[in-house]
């Protein structure tokens, strides 16, 4: 385990807006190939932490270090869906290709390598046949695959998923979780923000639990299941201890 590179480490971070601290004392690290699930209630500071991990916001105190070939713009991000996107006239290919934008710099158009990368990632997520379809006509699960393909175009080492299954039906949720798990087994580090304790127990390797403005737990999933905070959270959320 110690051989794997540390890609992100958060050291004594406190995060907030304009001097007001939302969450403090965050300490964790993510190594290549980890599947980290960030748990916590609404308003516990999860989305602030997401912004900090993406480098859109610097911590008030403490430090977020990136290593292992992961630069500031090299985290593939799957944001929560916005209202704007739901009726957006764009083809699947246009959206997946837009994931390559970070690589184009000042060049106005995509080059052949970027188009090929987009095609490869569509193939990888099984959406090649949807390439010409309109995004707004797809099912929720298909839309998430499109956005995942886009995220993979932006970064192929680490993905940050913000509540990826929100609004999907149970079958589509399971499909998406399995797809993410498959990507993880192929060596992509996953950081997932989630409410879903059952999925966290089933798929993740590590848990970061924040609540009450501080970090309640960080460690492996197995340790979490045996910790007091883990046990009480699992029970209160109706999950099963033996996952």
């Amino acid at each position: 385990m110690s051989e794997r590179e540390v890609q992100i480490s958060c050291v004594g971070c406190s995060l907030g807006y304009e001097g007001e601290t939302v969450v403090s004392d965050i300490n964790f690290e993510v190594r290549a190939g980890d599947y980290l699930c960030i748990l916590g209630e609404n308003g516990s500071g999860k989305s602030t932490l997401v912004k900090a991990l993406l480098g859109l916001k610097s911590p008030n105190t403490g430090e977020i270090r990136r290593g292992g070939g992961v630069g500031a713009g090299e985290i593939g991000y799957l944001p929560q869906q916005t209202v704007v996107q739901r009726d957006f006239p764009a083809s699947v290919r246009e959206i997946v290709q837009s994931g390559c934008l970070g690589k184009t710099g000042l060049r106005p158009f995509y080059n052949a390598a970027e188009k090929a990368l987009a095609a490869k990632n569509m193939e990888r997520l099984g959406i090649t046949d949807l390439a010409k379809r309109c995004y707004r006509e797809l099912s929720g699960g298909q839309q998430q695959r499109v956005l995942l393909a886009r995220a993979l175009c932006a970064a192929d080492k680490i993905l940050l998923l913000d509540e990826p299954v929100t609004g999907l039906d149970p079958k589509a949720q399971l499909d998406l979780y399995e797809l993410i798990s498959k990507l993880n087994k192929n060596g992509i580090t996953i950081i997932m923000v989630s409410h879903d304790i059952n999925a966290a127990m089933m798929f993740s390797s590590h848990i970061l639990h924040i609540g009450g403005q501080k970090q309640l737990f960080f460690g492996s999933k197995d340790d979490y299941m045996n910790s007091p905070v883990g046990r009480s959270f699992i029970l209160s959320e109706g999950g099963e201890i033996d996952g």
Partner: protein, 281 residues
């Protein structure tokens, strides 16, 4: 029919009609390009708001007796655009309220200023022509036409060069930011270009009808087309065709220029709406 065509041919030999046509088509093209982005970003009303600001600025320029009104109108409108599009997040007054506030505020103050200080005998007529488009589209000078061509060229070139970035910023701002796209700069660019187009378009359709030029072609195209590129192209074509038809009709039938163009846009919107119903059914 032959008679009408001959009449049109006669009109088109006149330089002021040619100027009006060139400027009208260019403004229609530019506003439709930007319109798609503005509609999708939920900023449909920005055109309306900014045009009222431009009206207020124009009132100030009239009262101050400044001959080149552009010097006042352009900077004020650009500044307001930046202010409005930047206040998207983390502000006490939300986006739509900010637009409404600035828009009606500028309208009221502008009208008030003109009413109190204007030396013109026909205040109501002046205000009306500013709001609904004056005949000034038919009295353009060569310099104004050249200025318009230059600005339109800049808008089109910027749009083509930044097309992919604009798409990404419109579709998903948080993702773009996360991948290192400087979305703030592109939002600023959108704001500035919007303001420039609106000031240009005031001559054509007047401040009350500018929104129509921005939103109708985009909405029509979005009914039927499914990719961003096809929506943009279709929207540009609709807008240019409607402007051309509107201008010709208004010359032949002596109807108000702005209202005629907007009527053509509305007609196309309904046609596309019906097409979309058939496509779905």
């Amino acid at each position: 029919m032959v008679e009408l065509i001959e009449k049109l041919q006669k009109y088109f030999t006149l330089p002021f009609v040619q100027y009006a046509m060139i400027v009208g088509l260019l403004i229609a093209l530019c506003s439709s390009l930007l319109g798609v982005t503005l509609v999708l970003k939920r900023f449909s009303f920005i055109g309306d708001g900014l045009s009222h600001v431009a009206f207020g600025a124009m009132a100030v320029a009239i009262v101050a007796g400044i001959t080149n009104q552009m010097l006042i109108i352009m900077p004020v409108t650009v500044a307001s655009a930046i202010l409005l599009l930047r206040t998207g997040q983390n502000t006490k007054i939300k986006g739509d309220a900010a637009v409404a506030m600035i828009s009606v505020g500028a309208l009221a103050l502008g009208y008030m200023l003109i009413n109190i200080f204007s030396k013109s005998a026909n205040v109501a007529g002046d205000v009306c022509s500013t709001l609904f488009g004056s005949t000034s589209i038919l009295t353009l000078t060569k310099l104004e036409v050249q200025l318009c061509i230059a600005l339109a060229a800049v808008v089109v070139v910027l749009f083509v060069l930044f097309y992919n970035k604009l798409f990404a910023v419109t579709f998903d701002e948080s993702f773009s930011k996360a991948t290192g796209v400087k979305s703030d700069i592109y939002n600023l660019l959108i704001a500035i270009v919007t303001a420039v187009i609106i000031v240009l378009a005031m001559n054509l359709v007047g401040s009350l009808l500018i929104s129509a030029l921005i939103i109708f072609p985009a909405l029509s195209a979005m009914r039927v087309f499914k990719s961003f590129l096809s929506v943009i192209i279709c929207s540009a074509v609709i807008s240019v065709v409607c402007a051309a038809v509107g201008l010709m009709v208004s010359i032949l039938m002596s109807t108000p220029v702005g209202a005629t163009i907007v009527s053509a846009d509305i007609a196309v919107f309904f046609i596309f709406w019906i097409i979309s119903l058939f496509k779905r059914g």
